[in-house]
Symmetry: C2
Subunit: 204 residues, 2 copies
DNA sequence: GACCACGTTATACGATCGTATAACAAGGGT
DNA sequence: ACCCTTGTTATACGATCGTATAACGTGGTC
């Protein structure tokens, strides 16, 4: 075995980047193949590492999926925060931005549908995913409650309004992702506005 | 090998029942194990038949899943029709019944969540499932459009109202199924009523 | 340069997968 | 009773699965 012909591939150590590339490959793999098509080998091939490395960084493929869920949730959260920051100081503009951000990229992205479907399907069977789900949904709703209050929704209505608006956004986002032929993102935004109007006091 | 000790298990031919029991076992298997845990052997064991029989009745496990989707869709459709029939002759009562049926059994059933998640996750990768999805969703929406029109929604609003109400129902049903601690089925019904009210003309 | 920790590649193992196929039993017709 | 069709059981096959593990290459320290 000469130096010009190595017995196995050479490599550069990059543990942080390696772990992250596994997470990102997992998210991409969920998007392309769904949870049924996800496997250790396909994830590691996509990440450009050998199959044994997954078990080095995670307890198993399930633990990688949970880490991916957390990562995707952070990305969505960051996109929402950015949308609100861009909307300026008006409470109603911030509320509108928060609600409609789900109908545009990066949240309205085809790869996110399969990712979320996979996570939802694990909520009933994986306690860690169920915990994460509870946290992520509650965080969205707590922020939405604050924005609704700032915009003038009656205190007695806040809780149900937040739940109801979350539900409509989820339903519109889901249908938009499943079949983009039925209605447009702009129409989704108009429907969301109409639902917000049903909870807000009439403007002066 | 004596007659008292058969070489293999005895059986009774029942092709129609056998095919149906595979479909029902598939639906139940999706509910318990999700799409990732579904296999030919587990389905056939649950159905009480040997593994080779799946390929006798269906082109493969994918074709069985598609047949199961059709079957489940018919069951939901029948439940909706029954709810509307029970509501009597008042257009608004019928609309209310159609919309809120999703928050009660048999539609609000834990086993249906995983079934629908599995189907949704196949929409992007299986053309037959995508076709079925389009049909089932359109059928729901066409019926809802009729009920909205009967109840007095303005003609110009019908299309968007049907999409919007469908989205809210889906979102509430999804969250109710994922985590029944956040709000109740009765609250879901109240939210749906408020959303209907946002599209209906004021009652005299 | 020598040594060592550990990140990484490569591969093996037992288990399970979907599909294919041989054999046989049930049930109907003559 | 015999024959034939077909529904069914039982099992084999090649492929892929997640996990485990040996070996080695990298990079830091002395």
């Amino acid at each position: 075995m000469t130096a010009a012909s190595p017995a196995r591939a050479s490599f550069v150590r990059a543990p942080d980047a390696r772990r992250q590339s596994l997470i990102e490959a997992c998210a991409a793999g969920l998007a392309v193949r769904g949870v049924a098509g996800l496997s250790v080998r396909s994830i590691c091939a996509d990440a450009g590492v050998s199959p044994g490395l997954l078990r080095h960084y995670f307890a198993g493929i399930d633990a990688l999926v949970a880490a991916t869920y957390g990562h995707v949730g952070e990305q969505v959260s960051a996109a929402l925060a950015a949308a609100v920051a861009e909307a300026g100081a008006s409470p109603r503009a911030r509320l509108h931005a928060y609600v409609t951000a789900s109908f545009r990229p990066p949240i309205a992205a085809p790869e996110l549908l399969a990712t979320w479907l996979a996570f939802w399907s694990l909520v009933k069977t994986d306690p860690e995913i169920a915990r994460l789900h509870g946290e992520i949904y509650a965080a969205y709703r707590v922020e939405l409650e604050q924005l609704l209050a700032d915009a003038g929704v009656a205190a007695a209505d806040i809780r149900l309004a937040a739940i109801a608006v979350t539900a409509l956004v989820d339903g519109l986002w889901l249908e938009l992702s499943l079949d983009a032929q039925v209605f447009t993102a702009a129409e989704a935004g108009a429907m969301a506005e109409r639902w917000l109007a049903a909870w807000l006091p009439p403007s002066a």
